[in-house]
Symmetry: C2
Subunit: 201 residues, 2 copies
DNA sequence: TTCATTAAACCGACTGTTCAGTCTATTATA
DNA sequence: TATAATAGACTGAACAGTCGGTTTAATGAA
């Protein structure tokens, strides 16, 4: 019991270090993409040696996957925390756009895209990435279906609307490289305005 | 006069070879992105040696820039050829979406995005790329303004709508990696449906 | 028509750099 | 003291670009 407890407190928790490394590295992947982010970059931004990074992660790819998983889960978790504040699907769609923009300080979607097309990866990794990418899709789907059920939205094809909205949010993120964040936030709001004008009853 | 004409016909036109190499290489950049496309790949798909490629292009970067320029110009030229067939801004928007999808057999936008973020390039090259990227924006702008002037569209903010549509088309292209082309074409049409429902009078 | 010459076009081995990952030694901690 | 955690030099592979050599095609002269 006592020795077990000691074991758990042996050093700074390994999981914490892994998370710290991954979060620190997010900025690099977001700004440079996957392949242009070197291990030297990663060591530098984390203030750790090569050996130290490799003690915690088997490869660069593993850091990337770990980060994407972490980022996706946290993004969805934090959405879950705030979505209750909104009563209508309309409000939720605006809020989701805002939530999406919140992550645009360091967007990973471009790095994900590059990774999946440019790297030679196993089918297993590809499938895993695809699952991760599609996880947030359920949120969009829920909002749209809810809007239809509650009579806010026309009985449109929810599947199609879902992909349009996802594509739109994804596509607008490209302007991240040329526009200020508050400009972007406004643009996302305008985009949702537009979509809603089309689907609202 | 006679010698001048002979000079031009010395061998297969150099410009033709450059175009051929660039077009052959498009598929690689589209499928793999910029950095994951190696010079070996490029030699292979062109059935030419290293020396031969470097005789025509100074660098991999120059091939890429040349191709983007070529592709953008051809895309816009072919749009100019067909736009006269459409009478309304509404029709034009659908046609433009279709035209966009036509180029989705080998989309270069992802490679462009990767190149601009991941490669260390001069400010001059960056500016040049940005100009190229923004060239087609004028087409979108014209259609939207025309729609407003002709009374087809509400007097919305054309600037904002322009970016929304561009972002949308760009973002939907990500599904290129997971959906069939005809599915994609349908999705683009649905997207334009949605937008139009919002902006049509 | 043939041949010699010349320059364009092409070839592919080579080069130096970059890079992800390895591994031995060292340090830190319990 | 033993083990976890870290350091950083090293390694082999990959890569874009170089460069000396070869081939090709056009041209003009005989």
């Amino acid at each position: 019991m006592e020795s077990f407890s000691t074991e758990l407190r042996r050093r700074k928790n390994v999981q914490e270090i892994k998370r710290e490394i991954a979060w620190n590295t997010k900025e690099l992947f977001a700004q440079k993409g996957y392949s242009a982010t070197s291990m030297d970059d990663i060591c530098s931004i984390n203030n750790r040696s090569r050996g130290s990074i490799y003690y915690h992660f088997k490869s660069k790819e593993e850091i990337f996957l770990y980060l994407i998983k972490l980022n996706t889960q946290e993004w969805m978790d934090s959405w879950r925390k705030i979505e209750g504040k909104y009563k209508t699907a309309t409000e939720k769609l605006y809020a989701l756009a805002d939530h999406y923009v919140d992550d645009l300080t360091n967007p990973l979607n471009h790095a994900i895209n590059e990774f999946m097309t440019g790297q030679v990866v196993s089918q297993q990794i590809l499938d895993e990435m695809l699952t991760l990418i599609e996880m947030p899709y359920t949120l969009y789907e829920q909002i749209i279906k809810e809007g239809i059920e509650r009579g806010e939205f026309k009985p449109t094809n929810p599947e199609s609307v879902k992909y349009v909205v996802i594509g739109l949010f994804n596509g607008l993120s490209t302007f991240y490289f040329t526009k200020e964040l508050d400009e972007l936030r406004r643009l996302y709001k305008d985009a949702v305005d537009l979509i809603l004008q089309g689907i609202q009853k």
